[in-house]
């Protein structure tokens, strides 16, 4: 890190009079490996500035620097024309920088209202005025067109709703910069559209928005300016009109990425996974499906609808009110994790943080967590572990700066790859996948889609819960649309277009 780096300050875009934040030659390393290298960019008022890049490219690290959670090793950032050396989260907030981090930060045991008003509870002589808390929180949500009861406990909300609450909280606190780290990663089409509408409204009001997403059409549709990071360095920064989808992908991945529906042989006639009359409270009612071996059936619905409950019920974590499950023709009692695992059914959660991985354990140990237990291993040697984990790491292209860090230190997308590898490496007979490409980059998404194709080709029955119509069109042979806990439609994928599918999900047509 010599003067050559410092010399190149003139960097990207050039200083602009109305830039609210200027990032100059920022370098940040973790344990010797650089997560950001010499990054410079400007964030302008009244603009949506998208950050794009592969998993581990350094987007979230940049966000953490902008929000004061990390300090840069080299370089600096300027906010409102002043160089900020010791930015802390508090100071950043005072400077008007609001952040919705990639990892949701609500207090799960408090109500929505308290979460929104946190740190700023209306009070009279230190006594909280609960009515104002609820009123102001409700106003904040209404202002964004969000209908969530402010009396609910945050932990009971779906991930989509939690995201909305968090955005509402940051918007209420105001400020001139709003940073959103993958706000739409776990949202369905309609909720994502709500978020985007909100972002446009804020931008038109003069707020500078930093927006991170792996969805290319989303970014092309909303961003005024795009900066692409690769391996911690800026490879491209410019106004949106100058960049097309293909160029963007090539900038991010360093190569072309194609993900196309392969020709798959017709599925066998044997049913690999059968669910009958599955019902649980009001969240899911009379769900039934038969997935043949080698077939991929998708369950599509608004985020947080019936498909999100399927994981709990099929994995055995919760016992449904009613229903039956057959794997490979054999009945499997519901409500028992060990029986579900024993039948060869593998359920991959969409909530990797609380149900998928153990953040303090290493990558290798997480990769083999289930496999070793299912194989009934007794002894554990880290050298042997590394050897057995290596092929999984390669197949799933898990990228980490250190050799084998705790999995919690990986970037979000890489954690997702570890989660999939952990389960798909156990030779499943049937599979339930919930949002398998949640938060992964374009290349990894293509990889994961290929892996799921391969899974089906090997004769595994795959049930896929998704809130993305694109993903369903890419992967599934058949799609079941759910709404309000009930099945509302079922289509062969060849017999429907993407737009018709979206319309069905939104309730345009019942068939």
């Amino acid at each position: 890190m010599t003067s050559t780096m410092l010399d190149s300050i003139t960097g990207v875009g050039g200083p602009s009079p109305e830039a609210v934040i200027r990032v100059r030659d920022v370098t940040k390393s973790f344990g010797g490996a650089a997560a950001l290298k010499n990054v410079s960019l400007d964030v302008h008022a009244g603009e949506v500035h998208a950050l794009m890049g592969m998993n581990g490219a350094g987007k979230s690290t940049l966000v953490k620097i902008l929000s004061g959670a990390h300090n840069p090793d080299l370089g600096h950032i300027e906010v409102a024309d002043r160089v900020q050396t010791q930015l802390t989260p508090r100071r950043a907030r005072r400077l008007g920088i609001s952040t919705v981090p990639q990892r949701r930060e609500l207090v799960m045991s408090l109500t929505v209202a308290e979460n929104i008003m946190l740190g700023d509870l209306p009070n009279r002589r230190s006594v909280v005025r609960w009515r104002s808390v609820a009123d102001e929180a409700r106003a904040a949500l209404d202002g964004l067109g969000i209908s969530i009861d402010v009396g609910h406990i945050a932990g009971d909300l779906t991930v989509a709703e939690q995201t909305m609450v968090e955005v509402a909280r940051e918007v209420r606190r105001g400020g001139r910069v709003l940073i959103l780290d993958e706000p739409t990663a776990c949202l369905g089409a309609d909720a994502a559209e709500q978020i985007r509408a909100l972002v446009r409204r804020l931008r038109d009001g003069g707020v500078a928005v930093v927006y991170i997403s792996h969805h290319i059409d989303e970014v092309l549709g909303i961003a005024d300016r795009i900066t692409v990071l690769r391996d911690g360095a800026v490879v491209r920064s410019g106004v949106t009109g100058d960049i097309d989808e293909r160029g963007l992908v090539r900038d991010m991945a360093g190569r072309d990425v194609v993900s196309e529906r392969p020709q798959r042989a017709a599925a066998s006639r044997d049913v690999g996974l059968a669910v009958r009359d599955l019902s649980h409270g009001r969240s899911i009612d009379g769900f039934h499906v038969e997935v043949r071996k080698g077939e991929i059936v998708a369950v599509l619905g608004p985020a947080g609808d019936a498909q999100s409950r399927l994981f709990d019920l099929l994995s055995g974590r919760r016992r449904p009110d009613r229903g039956a499950l057959c794997v490979d023709g054999r009945p499997v009692p519901l409500g028992s994790v060990s029986r579900a695992l024993g039948s060869g059914l593998r359920c991959v959660t969409g909530d990797r943080r609380s149900l998928g991985l153990i953040p303090d354990l290493s990558i290798d140990e997480n990769l083999l967590l289930a496999q070793d237990r299912l194989a009934g291993r007794r002894l554990h040697r880290s050298s042997a572990l590394a050897r057995r984990a290596a092929p999984l790491r390669d197949d799933y292209r898990v990228v980490s700066l250190a050799k084998n860090p705790p999995v919690g230190r990986l970037s979000g997308g890489n954690q997702q790859k570890v989660l999939l590898a952990k389960w798909l490496g156990t030779r499943p007979a049937a599979c339930f996948l919930e949002d398998p490409t949640n938060g992964v980059d374009v290349a990894a998404m293509a990889d994961i889609h290929t892996l799921i194709d391969a899974l089906a080709r090997e004769g595994v029955a795959v049930l896929l819960a998704s809130s993305s119509a694109e993903e369903v069109m890419r992967l599934a042979d058949r799609v079941i649309v759910v709404r309000g806990g009930r099945m509302v439609a079922e289509h062969e994928i060849n017999g429907i277009t993407r737009d018709e599918l979206v319309a069905t999900v939104l309730g345009g047509e019942l068939s």
Binding site: M1, T27, K28, S29, G31, G32, A33, N71, P72, D73, L74, G75, H76, T85, Q86, S315, R317, V337, S338, L341, C347, T349, S354, L355, G356, L357, I358, P359, D360, L361, E365, L369, A370, D372, R373, L374, R377, R378, L379, H380, R381, A402, P405, P406, K422
Partner: protein, 333 residues
Amino acid sequence: MSIGSPARTGASETAPQAPDRRWRLPDMRIPHSGLILMLILVVALASFQTDSFLTTTNLLNVLRQVSAGAVIAAGLTLLMTAGGMDFSMGSVVAVTTAVAAQLIAHDQPVWLAIVVSMAVATVLGLVNGLVVTFTKVAPFVVTLATATLLDGVFLVILEGLSVSVGAELSELGNGTTLGVPNLLVVAVIVLAATAFVMRYTVFGRDAFAIGGNEDVARLSGINVVRAKLVLYGLAGALSGLAGIMLLSRLAGSSPGTAGLPMQLTAVAAVVIGGTSLHGGRGTVVGTTLGVLLLGVVANVLNLLQISSYYHLISVGAVLLIAAVANQLHNRRK
């Protein structure tokens, strides 16, 4: 987390533009270096203050004294790593000494006394485990209740009196093997076995997984209920073993033996050693260092004939300093 990344090049040292003015501990690449440093400081200080500290007799004596505590601390490390907690181990130790002492005093064979009292201890641990796993009441609450209850049972068994076992167990309590006190041999074996289990067996890794995230552990096919029962049972069994060790050293059981105070010292040692109260992290090496540190501090205060009031003050202070140091260490990573 004890695995420091060797390739840490200290990027912040080469960062003239972002001086980090926050106060920092010296770079601690060696695991537990803070604890080792404290231990060295105390030993150095003690050897300056009194000649009687650095003698073989005294040092062996310290080790004999901490052996029983080390055995329960080992069990507690494993249990706490799995996110559990047992406040009743010291009280189980007490009950064990009382049961064994009464049996021996009533002319039962020594082996029978040992087998029965250790079986009782194991069952008591299992009962804790059953209550914790099946009622889902917080282990903290359950075992604090059983601790109090057992302290009472202990007094009932002894009928409030001291019961001597004479020289029946002196081979264990005072004997040596190749010059090493037998008590120490037992403690070292238990510590080493625990370290082995935690590092090289799937059962030990299950403990880390359960402590790290119980839901994930269960969904990954780990039999969480069974693992917890085994862990609590093991805690009980090791308390029983510690009870026999203590009985052999004291040659009797009397009101005031072991109980909650012993437990608190063990918890302190484990926490000082860096085991997380939330589970998911723990090392036997840390625990061993914690046990030694507390043992040495107690010994030094004794040698310097400082009033026992200061004993509590110093244990508290050591615990506080070590806990803060651990926290700073973790935050730096």
